[in-house]
């Protein structure tokens, strides 16, 4: 949501430097419509698995792609697609699940999908089929409107060398021995949701839905944070991918709630100076996903088939394995572990164990009962905004 998405853009640009595997063969039977390119408005890094250009994705999908770089700001996407010229310009658009699909579908900016036309849909991770909130992140009024690309369960990073333990609770952020060495994300969405999960699951505050709190619940969570802020527990609230990496890598903070790629890159930067890990919290995590949607304009222009071909790539183990290995994101399909083992030329045996270990921990993190899915537009968003301002002013 909002700043988180805005700042994630910086990461998406940065991640293009990570590189990815070489162009692979085309999917049998998938051929691009003659001369027509799929015009997509997408995050420029993650959604082409960190590659420098879209050629590998084009080869996989068997289509031409004309991509326009997009930030992940909800306001920008809404304005462009609902009141702007987004439908004239783009056939497909990427954004966050758990709100944006509802917003765009309710305004008739995107159209429902026929998942039967996406062969890899059968491999989608089970929680998208089983109903409940995860399934809802792709649906509006029961119809599927989007195809998931990546997801993750946000947690905290810590320096094992300095802390000397592997924390398994968000409570470590409020341990007085780390006073002034803790940082939170400067975004009320993920920060308040994760803190609500902690306070709810540890029995400190009674909260119904951690990702859609009532104004009183928002107040209680923010008052808890204000109290700790006044005690000097927090060094800062980070904003932006590089900012987060810098904070961790410089040793300025020892514990920080953040996106997983921040910990991965910061750990690479620090070398032996620090030993940065990404924890699994027993209370749970905010889970989120990115997805791709077919616009009304795209369907009118006959770009449906092109969309389905690209969506099929996003649900392929080819994409899932690479996004896991290079960016640390959760694949959206089953069978990635087998794919990695079966392709040692792309995933050498020396690194296979590490990648599969990340996948195992990630899967365990997703299975936590205390998790709450990201909600881009909580019902009482004004309460979130107002109390966040109070936290800032405290």
């Amino acid at each position: 949501m909002n700043q988180m998405q805005w700042t994630r853009r910086a990461f998406m640009y940065a991640s293009s430097a990570l590189g990815t595997a070489a162009v692979m063969g085309q999917i049998p039977g998938a051929t691009a419509a003659e001369g027509q390119a799929l015009k997509i408005w997408a995050n420029p890094g993650v959604h082409k698995v960190g590659a420098k250009d879209w050629s590998a994705m084009e080869a996989q999908a068997g289509i031409k792609i004309a991509a326009t770089a997009k930030s992940a700001r909800a306001d920008e996407a809404i304005q462009k697609m609902v009141v702007g010229d987004g439908n004239k310009l783009f056939d497909a658009v990427t954004d966050n699940g758990g709100g944006m699909e509802d917003a765009l579908a309710s305004q008739r900016a995107i159209v429902p999908l026929d998942t039967a036309r996406i062969p890899n849909w059968k491999n989608i991770v089970p929680h998208y089929r089983e109903g409940g909130i995860a399934a809802n992140t792709l649906r509006y009024e029961g119809k599927v409107y989007s195809t998931p690309i990546i997801s993750n369960a946000d947690s905290l990073a810590y320096d094992f060398k300095q802390i000397g333990a592997h924390p398994d609770s968000w409570g470590v952020m409020f341990d007085s021995q780390f006073k002034g060495r803790v940082a939170l994300q400067n975004d009320f969405g993920p920060t308040l949701t994760n803190m609500a999960i902690y306070l709810k699951e540890s029995g400190k505050i009674e909260i119904g839905n951690a990702s859609d709190m009532t104004p009183k619940e928002v107040q209680a969570v923010c008052e808890f944070l204000i109290d700790w802020k006044k005690k000097g527990q927090f060094r800062t609230f980070w904003d932006g991918f590089q900012n987060g990496v810098g904070l961790l890598a410089s040793g300025e903070v020892l514990v920080m709630s953040c996106w997983e790629p921040i910990q991965i890159i910061a750990n690479r930067k620090t070398g032996d100076k620090a030993d940065l890990h990404y924890g699994t919290m027993k209370e749970g995590h905010q889970t989120w996903n990115n997805m791709i949607m077919l616009t009304k304009g795209g369907r009118q222009r006959g770009a449906e088939e092109l969309y389905y071909k690209l969506a099929n790539v996003y649900l392929s183990t080819w994409f899932g394995a690479r996004t896991l290995a290079t960016l640390g994101y959760q694949p959206q399909m089953v069978g990635v572990d087998e794919y990695i083992k079966a392709n040692p030329e792309d995933f050498p045996t020396s690194v296979q164990a590490d990648i599969l270990d990340i996948l195992t921990r990630k899967t365990a993190r997703f299975a936590n009962k205390g998790n709450a899915w990201q909600n881009v537009f909580p019902k009482h968003i004004r309460a979130y905004q107002d109390w966040w301002a109070r936290l800032q002013a405290a």
Partner: protein, 312 residues
């Protein structure tokens, strides 16, 4: 006829004056033609790109918020929300930080301007002043970001002081704190004070300094009674630039501020990303009113028309 095209309108048939092409063009481009209207271009530009957006900002601030946009109406809810929430407090803090940055920038920048004006040879003055443009050639993001390895816990300042034995523990108050924001603002916007101060002093004729020297005016008296009053409009102009940037540029509190540090620009930005457009417009309107009030006070005190008026 042959010369009519150059010297004046041609006469044909029944004696009626018909302008030759060149003469006609001259009329079009003359004082009663395009030249007459060309002076209105700045006015049109101002109306289109300054007055109209500002007017729209004010109008939108009283619109009704909808789920994703806003609709015409009249409500002061956004203003009520601003003043009854912590945003007003954040805004005031932002103004305080801006004021502190102005004072520090004046204390550092104006003496530099005086030094350049009085001690550097006339020929070299503009070259020296141009040196202060160099930092502006680097992205502001990079400039502000680069302060973190300098001011951080393990940064250059702390490492040096610890190496020298001046401190035993890192000083943490200079980064990720209100002081960090002020340091960032001063470092980012100091050239505004130097430029404005220098320009103001450039209008002060040398003989004024010479007369003061002849009369044995002390340095303090020279500064407080001569230099400062003459340069006041320029100093004020530089101060406004710094204050406005401090209030509006979100980068500095984002990168150097403490937990949740904001300025007015960031408050408005946060309202926009939460799709609360009327609130963002209300905050922008409040910023406009603040700055107009500031300019009015400045004009009453210092007569800002003197900023660009050379002393004759």
């Amino acid at each position: 006829m042959s010369s009519g095209a150059i010297s004046g309108p041609a006469r044909a048939g029944g004696g009626r004056d018909i302008p030759a092409p060149a003469a006609r063009w001259r009329d079009y481009l003359g004082e009663n033609g395009v030249q007459k209207w060309v002076f209105y271009i700045p006015v049109v530009f101002f109306l289109l790109f300054f007055a109209a957006p500002m007017a729209l900002t004010v109008v939108w601030s009283v619109f009704e918020r909808t789920q994703f946009w806003m609709e015409p109406g009249f409500t002061l809810f956004a203003y009520d929300n601003f003043f009854s929430s912590a945003r007003a407090e954040n805004y005031l803090f932002s103004m305080l930080h801006g004021a502190a940055s102005v004072v520090i920038a004046f204390a550092i920048g104006f003496p530099i301007a005086v030094f350049i004006r009085r001690r550097v040879t006339r020929v070299a003055q503009h070259r020296v002043i141009l040196l202060f443009i160099l930092p502006f050639m680097i992205s502001e993001l990079v400039r502000v970001f680069a302060m973190r390895p300098v001011l951080g816990r393990h940064g250059i300042v702390n490492s040096l002081l610890m190496e020298l034995g001046v401190i035993s523990e890192p000083i943490t108050v200079i980064l990720y704190s209100p002081l960090g924001v002020i340091i960032g603002d001063v470092m980012s916007f100091l050239p505004f004070m130097i430029f404005a101060g220098f320009l103001a002093l450039e209008a002060v004729q040398n003989y004024i300094f010479e007369v003061c020297d002849d009369l044995g005016t002390g340095r303090v008296r020279l500064f407080t009674h001569i230099i400062l009053p003459l340069a006041a409009p320029g100093i004020f102009a530089g101060s406004v630039f710094i204050f406005v940037n401090s209030l509006g540029v979100a980068l500095v509190p984002t990168l150097l501020g403490g937990p949740g540090a904001v300025n007015a620009g960031l408050i408005a930005n946060q309202a926009i990303v939460a799709l609360d457009f009327p609130l963002a417009m209300a905050i922008s309107t409040i910023m406009i009113v603040t700055l107009v009030a500031l300019l009015y006070i400045g004009h009453r005190l210092f007569d800002l028309t003197k900023v660009l008026e050379p002393i004759s």
